[in-house]
Symmetry: C6
């Protein structure tokens, strides 16, 4: 049986069920969504669904071994973070977003996650971990830039006030919500912050679990809200 | 085999099946609901569905160990109580409820539940449990205030007689229906009522099981009834 | 393997499959039902569905232990009998049934079943069982009264000939169909009829199994038939 | 592994899959059926579906024990034969069939099957088995009479040429198709034909399996064909 | 683990998945099919679905025993070959095909398959196997005749160019595609070709697996293609 | 538990989930697709679905044995590569593609895959493997030719700019995306490149897993994008 003070397990259970409920919500609301926005809401549902499956794995792994399921986390992120990039692309398509922008976002994500994996899962116990984390951070900040001031920001603004406002919310998620992960990385690897160990002892899993739920479900809800306000303006079906 | 006088198991079986049947009911009635109210009825279904899953866990845990499944109860509440707050928000949106109100409700719920968990699951055998319960109670009464006299009440009244009446019913649930839980807390923890043990011996599980079924299904049915009367006035799609 | 003369097992198999087939029938016929009557047919399906699940448990319990699964029977009844009360309420709503009537019916049912459970499952081997059965019977006859001459009867008559006729059929179910259960109780408990043991040796399970199938499926079919005749008059959406 | 000359197992596998495929067929064709005929096609699907479930049980029982699964056969028949009576009732409703006719058919079926069960499963090794079979036969021939010359025949003829033709086909099923079962009974019980053992050695299971498939699927297909020809005349929604 | 040169297992895996994918394809395309053709496409889906289930059995049997699963193959054929006859009947109904034609086809199929089973599964190691195969071949060539020059051919030609062309394709399947099976029979039984052993050593399973996939999926695709071209002319609903 | 540096397992997990998510995406988007394009999107979903099933097998096989699941890979490719050929055929049908073209593509695929299997799975440890790979390469380059300059290219160009552009994208997939496989073959077999071992040590599985995901999902997305742009011009229903 699970000890009452096993907060890590507690958050895994919450995460798993929250993701599953969110997926059911998004899938059920598809029929209630205007046609041009259905793909976006479907993607929101896919993000939470993929997360639900992996949380199921992670929960069992953690209950069985007591270890942090880093392996499964990164498998999950490498699928869901690009899907979040797809969301940015879908809402800016109307004002001219080209597929090239999507590739920039996805490439940055993949670089960020692969370097992060090497740093955390392979060299997590060595000082060099901070170097990998640093490179990962560069990719991360590139995404933050694109969404706050770069192409994504400009296209979103040009797409109308509702899209601009939604992108604004998503931008805050990327800056603050996603910042949880590097912080957890710094706390959880030997290299710490530029070589200086910091915040050792902070359980990475609780941070990630809560952060994941907030980020993924919140992200999906912003898209969902946007789909309900943009009743008039539809997205063109440009490839 | 289960002893005939195992009332705790009895109520777990009832709870599990009742929640599952209620979910089937709400999901099947979605197609029968006017478009603006579908999200509300869907959320009712999600609340009972999440509960059904956790009741399945709790029932097996209780049959296996004979213990109170506090762990799973709080995992369940920390997902379903915020969803109930979402219900309040959804029905007052028409008359101007802002997202800030939803955050007030959810924050209060989370504070209430986290302090309650610490008090019940971590320090449940110590006198200090009443302190945690007291703080939890403060958060609880804040929610009661919002729904009886504060923002939620005012906005509900402004949204028309049907919404006002529904909010009234929900308010009674929050005041009387939800009061079951702090009472069970007082009965089940060493700190009792402000340090004085009270009602020791009362089985918390039976109280919670019956209370959960009444609260969650009743809550959903109030929303469901409201969706059938508000045939004319629709909710605006403001984010 | 099951002995050919194991009539109890025979009826459990029949019951389980009959309930499942009836649920499939009602759920599939939902799309074929006029909108105002869909909730009623859905409830019929829920009643048989809940029964199907519990019959699955009861069948296995009986095959494994050879005992009467009283525990599961009452879990099943405490969910399905109130749902039958809901059916009475739904068909009399049109002519003014108030929610108070539903509460009267449900309260009487719950009293009837709880006293019945204590009498049968806890004190079934003692003489005092007849006292509990007597109190249960009082509640039972109150329901019979409501449906034959009281509020339900009056409202059904006022709702039109089809509803009146349906209520008449349901009333017969309650008087004759449901009488099976107290008879089984008298036969199966030590207290018998007002203290005098009667009909000892009659296997309660066969009586209950056949009775359940007839009552639940028959009840649902009466509602179903009513939904097919009332094509013109619709139920108002009053809460 | 199953021996190649295990024809009994061969027919169990065929039966199980045939019933499942027929159910899929009828359920999928529901949407393709005119509204007034949907209930009839649904019942056809339920008949084959119930049979599919029981064939699954019977197949495993026979593979495990090598015995004839009489127990499960009769559980299956006591649900499906009344459903076939319902089919007769549904197609003659248009020309005035009263619910009393359905009760006559169902009562006769139940008598036929219960006496048959006692004769075959309880006293199958004794001479008296022929007595039970005789009583069962009386009930059987009553059904044959009703469908060939009695109420069912008259009402079917009055309902139009398509219904009359369908009833004619169903009548042949009842006379010839269903005759398989008493023949198998005579061959398989000690009492044989009026006390004289006959056709001993004929494997009852192969006869029943093939007969069941032909009867149940054939019955359903006659109803299905009727639903496709009666495009103009609809069944009234009389209770 | 499965050896890389286990071609038999290789083809079983392919067969199983191909049949499952084809079924999904046909079922999903039902909604996309004109109403008069839906039954035909549904039957195509049923043929591949029944095959998928049996391939699942056959694959496991073959992996476990290394033997040819003749038993399951014939169970599969005795259900699917008559269904293919139904397809011929359905497309010629428009130009007057009577139910008698369907019976001719099905009877021939059943004779062909039963004699084939006795020859292959019971006497497969004896010389007399060729006699059984010969009788089976007579039935087979009768079907070939009906489809190439007999009733089916004439009715198909009368039903229009699209149906005629489809029947032509199906006729090729029956002549060439189905010829695989008798060839495999000749290769795999002691009696060989009219008593002379031939092609001994050729693995029957690989031939059958590939043949089945081509025949069943190809057959279904011809029907599917026909349903897409016959947009104008609909099939009458004559029983 | 899986080692953090087990990149092969990492990619199997990604592959399995990505394929499953892509299938859900394509199936859910069917209802959102214009009628003439539904078959194409359905085929995309079938390709990823078949892949998802086989990735499930491959993942478990690899976790259990540590070996490369060549057997399952080829079972998967021999079903999905012909389906990709079907996609080419479907988009060129409008401008006159004949079924003969589809046969050319499928035949070339089958030759390519069968020779590749023999080379890799049977003689993978011998020098002659390069001969088989060479023949396979001939078939591969034939497909490349058809799509870049041959029939497929010409018909695509004649079908309009959107189809031409889509075919262009698909052509790049075939040339670059599919090139991964022969490269992996050269690296993984003893015969290497025309007899000279090359790139030994490169893990074939990681290359194939990533390549599969990119190819199958990318292929499906190109078709999907095409279906959204071709809103006006529909495909004729020519067989
Ligand atoms: C910058 C940075 C990282 C960023 C990770 C991020 C941004 C993860 C986002 C995950 C999401 C959004 C998951 C689900 O929603 C790592 C890899 C931890 C490594 C250290 C540096
Ligand atoms: C005030 C208070 C509590 C309140 C709990 C509540 C209000 C729970 C509500 C649960 C619901 C509504 C569940 C499902 O429907 C605790 C945490 C027991 C701790 C003590 C003080
Ligand atoms: C009066 C009475 C009883 C009545 C039980 C009833 C009326 C049960 C109804 C059950 C139904 C309707 C089940 C499913 O359909 C008991 C509790 C046996 C106890 C003795 C007195
Ligand atoms: C007359 C007679 C019998 C008749 C049985 C029948 C008529 C069974 C019908 C079964 C069907 C129709 C099954 C599924 O389709 C018995 C009971 C064997 C006993 C001996 C006398
Ligand atoms: C003529 C002949 C045979 C024919 C078999 C056929 C024609 C089987 C068809 C199977 C199909 C069509 C399966 C699924 O699609 C046998 C029985 C091998 C026995 C020898 C003679
Ligand atoms: C040329 C060549 C090959 C090509 C394989 C290909 C082109 C596979 C394509 C697979 C796809 C497209 C899978 C799923 O999407 C082999 C067989 C490796 C053997 C060596 C030569």
């Amino acid at each position: 049986p699970i000890a009452n003070d096993n907060y890590v397990a507690f958050t895994f259970f919450i995460g798993c069920m929250a993701m599953m409920a969110a997926s059911v919500f998004f899938f059920f609301e598809l029929g209630n969504t205007e046609k041009p926005w259905r793909t976006s809401v479907l993607v929101s549902g896919l993000i939470t669904f993929i997360a639900a499956v992996h949380y199921y794995y992670m929960r069992d792994y953690n209950l069985a071994t007591g270890q942090s399921p880093t392996f499964f986390r990164y498998v999950d992120w490498i699928l869901t973070v690009p899907l979040m990039c797809v969301e940015f692309y879908l809402i800016t398509r109307k004002s001219g977003a080209k597929i090239g922008l999507l590739w920039k976002l996805i490439t940055a994500s993949v670089v960020m996650l692969i370097t992060g994996y090497i740093g955390e899962a392979i060299y997590g116990q060595e000082t060099q971990s901070w170097v990998w984390g640093f490179v990962s951070g560069l990719a991360y900040f590139y995404i933050v830039y694109l969404v706050w001031a770069g192409d994504v920001k400009k296209l979103a603004d040009a797409a109308g006030p509702a899209v601009a406002r939604a992108n604004n919310a998503l931008a805050w998620f990327v800056l603050v919500g996603w910042a949880i992960y590097p912080i957890g990385y710094i706390a959880g690897t030997a290299g710490g912050f530029f070589g200086i160990p910091m915040l050792r002892g902070l359980s990475m899993d609780i941070v990630y679990n809560i952060g994941d739920a907030v980020n993924k479900i919140g992200f999906g809800l912003v898209i969902y809200a946007l789909s309900r306000s943009e009743k008039v303006i539809s997205l063109p079906a440009r490839a």
